[in-house]
Symmetry: none
Subunit: 205 residues, 4 copies
Amino acid sequence: MGEGQSMNEKFYSLKKEKQDKMLNGAMQIFALYGYRHASTDEMVRVSGVSKGLWFHYFESKAGLYAFVASYGLKYAMIELSMRTVRQGADYFALRYEVEEGKMRMLDKYPYLPLFLDSIAREDDEEVVEMIKEPREKYAEQLQQLLLQADYAPLKAHDDYLLLIDMLNYTLEALLANGYRSPVFSKERYLTEVQKHIQALKKLIA
Amino acid sequence: MGEGQSMNEKFYSLKKEKQDKMLNGAMQIFALYGYRHASTDEMVRVSGVSKGLWFHYFESKAGLYAFVASYGLKYAMIELSMRTVRQGADYFALRYEVEEGKMRMLDKYPYLPLFLDSIAREDDEEVVEMIKEPREKYAEQLQQLLLQADYAPLKAHDDYLLLIDMLNYTLEALLANGYRSPVFSKERYLTEVQKHIQALKKLIA
Amino acid sequence: MGEGQSMNEKFYSLKKEKQDKMLNGAMQIFALYGYRHASTDEMVRVSGVSKGLWFHYFESKAGLYAFVASYGLKYAMIELSMRTVRQGADYFALRYEVEEGKMRMLDKYPYLPLFLDSIAREDDEEVVEMIKEPREKYAEQLQQLLLQADYAPLKAHDDYLLLIDMLNYTLEALLANGYRSPVFSKERYLTEVQKHIQALKKLIA
Amino acid sequence: MGEGQSMNEKFYSLKKEKQDKMLNGAMQIFALYGYRHASTDEMVRVSGVSKGLWFHYFESKAGLYAFVASYGLKYAMIELSMRTVRQGADYFALRYEVEEGKMRMLDKYPYLPLFLDSIAREDDEEVVEMIKEPREKYAEQLQQLLLQADYAPLKAHDDYLLLIDMLNYTLEALLANGYRSPVFSKERYLTEVQKHIQALKKLIA
DNA sequence: AATGAATGAGCTTTCATTCAT
DNA sequence: GATGAATGAAAGCTCATTCAT
């Protein structure tokens, strides 16, 4: 009655199917255009959910962004935490598994992987503060996961941190490329990822 | 097209100084926000050139985009063509020189390097067709230039094309990072570029 | 109207307590903001009664307004009729008693006095016709009541009708002032009323 | 260029005729419905000036309100200051002259008198602070003007302040009544004002 | 009876574009 | 050539009203 129940809880009491329609609509438009240029009308169009309802559950576009970003990041963290990583695994294998994990998200949230990258780049001052914490948590968890790997082979190279940078930039670019085609193909993406990872691994070994 | 004097020629009869004020204003806003989210009002603000004039020379925002993109690509091609490349140069040295060339553009058109990358990624259907040709020409010229290099050391690796991809993605990411700081520092950028290039080169050699 | 049971009767079969929660919510918001600017959401908030129920009993905001206005006016008329007025009472004493009567309503319907005045001023064409009849009836009953007074002292002044106008405008303004403070104080209001009435009475005597 | 010129100055460089069309449109709608419920669309309708232009000159509805309120209050103060008041004038004559002054404004700004009263009552927190100063200044000037009068006859009555209150409440109510008819009649209004003032004056003398 | 999810028209505000000067 | 006033469609958001449960 009145207070007592947060906006978010209200949203969670919707039918799961509708929740996901809305989440996917928001993720898609936010991922493609960023916070500022994402239009609620376009979310209405792709989700089939009326404009009024978006604002019934989320006070504002900024509030919606904060919620969906936080939701997506949490979902990704759960996905990450489901991989039981053997201490000392091969770095490149681990990195590939992370990408595999992203592909597993696609079934439920087709734009989530792209959205995650766009969150990382988001710098609109209206929302940047609201997503700071979950964004950092996700980055840290990803960091922790990769630190389980055996860095010995990498550390043989003075510049291994630069090489890791390069790999990260590359994978992000490959993902964005994948979304440029009419329909995202998991297989194609993972093949590309594997090829690039192996190319680098071979050099290092 | 059809009239006695094309839009472009009319624009070129403006004072060079004003031309550049407009070009820079457009490049900056287009580079930062992409075609769709770029606001003409913001170009007016940063350039100090009145709104009416923009539409006097360029019939629409799309026409403006096509012109500025084409102009920027041509300018970059001229810059590229001014490097007299010794056949058989080191690939990595050549790649670095290309980045140096971008830095030379900065004096006249501070946002041109960023704009070039944003053109490559632009996919708004309203303008994508209009910039197709110059965009491809630029890509091709860049390609031709780099083909002057001696690929022998690279070709020792089956995956050398993938490695080149990775380098390109990396340099693009570094450039975007550079623009994220309040003022773009040529020196810092070139240092970063050099470090990453050398890291890769060492692996290959 | 036409159906077996009128809207109103349905409403009256609710628990008295809930009826009053709704009536008070509506009176408060209508009194404070007028018909047009009154928001149903705000009534939901202050009353704690769900949105659907409001429209279950009252087909529209206009219907609700008509009902609550009519209800409030009737309630006020009953309150008025409970004063057994001695024929030939002092006009000013009678006028004061009317205000005392309003204060008695406050216990059950805290915003009713303010609402009554706002009804008198309401001119939104969507509802003005619907409340015409009860509004006039109330005005007339009030008129009748005051006509019981001994007008002889007043009639010594040619302009006594104008003086009565002035008193009415004044009392209405004092009431509105009373509602502007965080909590309406009956005592303070009646003191103010008394002071103004006496000031006028002294002049006339 | 750019800054240097305030919004207001921009507005003042419009043709006087158009300025007044906009001022009158805003005054009318604000006066009739108050800040909150006044709709810019309605101003567009009554003024014939396009929606975009309102926001070209006034950053927001609140900014518009602040400007128009301030403008109206200033205009009224100039009108007030044009009356050269003989020290020791009859209070009631002076009070009447003030109302005459309001009627003189009607030619240029038909809703200004009503707007002035609505400004005095405005309590929307979004604008109340913005109009605080001019509102107080106007009240004070009006006060100063009336203090020129000879209060001796009034002061014979202990309660003369209450009587002045009553007169003020009355005149405000009469003005509002005047605006309720389809067309405001200066003559009728001033006649009513005169009658009420005289009624009170006679009592006091 | 009772709830609150759902809708779309309407509101304030922005923005590409036109036009008079 | 140059300005910026002027426009209306569309954006984010509110609100009376409907409807499934």
